[in-house]
């Protein structure tokens, strides 16, 4: 029997391929915790990506309605557990905004120092984990080498290495221990030259560039319309950072600091940093740029910490205002967004005049960043999905709360 090749039904039968639904996660090594992605694939090509969330939901907002504002601080740690200090700061500032409280200048410098140090730790882990997503293990441990030292510094400050609850309403729980600034200075001196290693291992590595450049292209308009924030937004070339553009109660922290928002303007990044050149293949808004923005922010944070240490040691006065755990909140509401390491972290607090808020709402930057994945996660290969998800630097603890 001979096959009639011109019979369309035969051809259809002969070369027909099936689409396959692949469940990526929640127990998958590269979905950063418990993100679940349902991929519709045709062979290696992904035609649709649907994120499913909720596997790490811990009712943080409901808990917030049953605790006083000060008692809620430890729960904010557990939202973005890689940037606990940033979460503490977000909630504290929102409550302070409701209380119309202004903390002393020294406390503000202390906060900048701590928060930027935490941003470095968070970006380092994001950077290392991104290497892991792309199949290289060593940068991860290199990043951990430095992160451990930051955690040591935090341990000296507050006794905790992950969930700090250090920054609190009215400033911080206590002042820096003696000799801490020298330790921090020593760390920065040791850390700064090491950044070059990460650029060699990842940023300028030819395979890394091939895997990330032009992948997961997120145009600026799309990033804005999906509410993307943080390095994801700046990686698309949008000049927006709440440290400069935020509300006065937040931007006052950064008053007098010399820093420039990291994002590509007119085809190049700020000139203040010694950075490797952008490869030709990279397009604005791709995975490479998102990664690169994080890497440059690490350098920027180092400079911010140095400035903060100077200002802190030159400023006289107290590091904060003592606030009791059951401090009464005025009736009313306040909403404040801060620039956390992964994006805008907004806290909304509604009070009826008691110490326990009526509503404690958290707006997560990662949630919006994740929402864009359906838009940029199709038409690529399966291998690109970890690259895209990793470049968004998602953290499920923050998304699910």
């Amino acid at each position: 029997m001979t096959m009639q090749a011109d019979d369309p039904r035969l051809i259809e039968f002969d070369v027909r391929t099936d689409e396959m639904l692949v469940n990526m996660g929640p127990q998958h090594p590269s979905t950063h915790g418990v993100l679940r992605l349902v991929l519709r694939t045709d062979g290696e090509i992904v035609s649709e990506t649907t994120p499913h969330i909720g596997y790490l939901h811990r009712c943080a907002e409901k808990i917030g309605e049953n605790l006083t504002a000060r008692q809620f601080i430890p729960y904010t740690d557990r939202m973005d557990y890689l940037a606990g200090m940033n979460m503490n700061l977000g909630w504290s500032l929102a409550v302070e905004k409701l209380l119309q409280m202004e903390i002393p200048e020294k406390g503000r410098h202390l906060r900048v120092m701590i928060v930027e140090l935490n941003r470095i730790a968070s970006h380092l882990l994001g950077m290392g984990a991104y290497g892991l997503d792309l199949g290289t293990f060593s940068p991860f441990l290199y990043a951990f080498r430095e992160r451990e030292k930051i955690l040591d510094l935090f341990e000296a400050v507050c006794g905790a290495r992950l969930t700090y609850s250090y920054l609190t309403i009215g400033g911080a729980t206590h002042d820096l221990p003696p000799g801490w600034l020298q330790q921090c200075e020593a760390f920065l001196d040791q850390f700064e030259p090491n950044i070059e290693e990460y650029h060699t291992l990842l940023t300028t590595n030819q395979i890394f560039v091939k895997r990330t450049a032009g992948i997961g292209l997120l145009p600026a308009e799309m990033a804005i319309s999906y509410g993307c924030t943080g390095p994801v937004l700046r990686g698309s070339g949008v000049d927006c950072d709440l440290r400069r553009d935020g509300e006065p109660i937040y931007t006052r922290m950064y008053e007098g600091y010399d820093f420039e928002i990291i994002c590509e303007r007119d085809g190049h990044y700020p000139d203040d940093y010694d950075y490797p050149p952008v490869p030709k293949e990279a397009q604005l808004g791709d995975c490479w740029h998102r990664f690169y923005v994080r890497m440059l922010e690490v350098v920027q944070s180092v400079s911010l910490i140095r400035q903060a240490m100077d200002k802190y040691s030159q400023t006289a006065g107290d590091y904060g205002i003592p606030v009791r755990f059951n401090h009464k909140l005025p009736a009313g509401e306040a909403y404040l967004e801060t620039e956390s390491s992964r994006g805008w972290m907004g806290f909304h607090i509604v009070s009826d005049g008691t110490a326990v808020p009526l509503r404690a709402r958290a707006r997560s930057g990662c949630f919006s960043n994740l929402s864009v994945i359906g838009e940029i996660g199709h038409g690529c290969l399966i291998a690109d999905i970890p690259a895209i998800v990793g470049s968004l630097d998602l953290l499920m603890g923050e998304i699910d709360r």
């Binding site: 692949v22 998958h28 090594p29 060593s138 441990l141 290199y142 970890p386």
Partner: protein, 428 residues
Amino acid sequence: MVESLIENWGFPEWMAYLIAATIPCVLLLHVVAVGALFFIWLERKVSGRIQDRLGPTRVGGKYGWLQSLADGVKLISKEDLVPAGADSWLFRLAPYISVSCCLAAYLTIPFAYGWVAQNLDVAVFFVLAILGLEVFGVILAGYASGSKWSLLGGMREAAQVVSYEVPLGLCVVLPVMLAGSMNLTTIAQVQSGWFTSWLIFYNPFLFVTFWIFFTCALASVNRAPFDLAEAESELVAGFHTEYSGLRWSLFFLAEYGSMFSVSALAVLLFLGGWNGPIPITSWIGWTFEYGWFWGTLGNFVGLANFIFKCSLGIVLMMWVRWTLPRLRIDQVMTICLKYCLPLVCLMLLGNLMWPWIAGPPSASFVQKRYEAYQHLHPEPTTETEADEETTAESNSVAISLPQQVNEKQKVVLTTSSTTDSSLPLQTN
């Protein structure tokens, strides 16, 4: 060996053949198994040092040298799971295909002069063919697991194999062309003398070819940056997602075994085989020309050379693995088919034209090639003396010994080779 077993010891023929086959098989099994244990341990140490940590330090006292044995014991004691959705028969079969192919490749790899289980005339071809078969285990595992991730891993392996096999096969052609033989012993013999006579230094084209060969060899043993079939950040664990315990460790064994065999192939084809960088053994007279004792001593030095060079190749693979990110499947195919293949064709042409550029090969090279050929195809001899010699020494047999060499020198460890029909042994 077979003849001596029959004549001197009175073994029945089938048993003589069995014994003659068992000895090299057992030896090779140990080489592979102990080698794999050692290289798994080495990988952990090397990766540890690369990543600014120590690696295993506890098991076995110093340096954690028993770590892989401890891992092996743990793996053996684990439950042997077969998923409900798997094709149970194929699922169980797949690791054995990988392992047996990996072991079979060792049959024709000479570890030193004459120390080879089967002195095949088509050894290069045989090793490549067997290594090509090994991927069937991977594809089968991916297909039979009944898991989508495994299936994707198997698919990737299939796509990868068609892309690296072509340039890999062409890379091998260059040294074969120069040596004029596909026998690995001959190819290594051609490279005797100083390290400058290694084929990698023969001309610039071979130097480039070596690195192409290395790249394709990395792809052929599924090592990073070509470890797509088991890409843990994309496919969970790829083709061995559903495997556990001993079956899983068989895949591991096959991977490390193949790493060694492709390294051995690279060493034999390009890096002088068992010939050291400096011909010390021939200076101090540790060759078969001065009796089999000295020859065997020299062979041990050669064995050390060979294993050291293979280990260097493996360490290089580890270094690459722990430094580079993984490529994407389309990029692997691009690299292999779009860059490596034309490049190696160019090298092939260049190598063909080398005599026009640099003149004909040196007299010493021609002489070595001639001698190696003579070793392989000695003049048919009718001397019965040789047989008597052989029968006198019950367990040492000469196979492909050169005629120029004193007939009394025998090589231990070799078995009868069916390919060498003109050998004195088989004249009776």
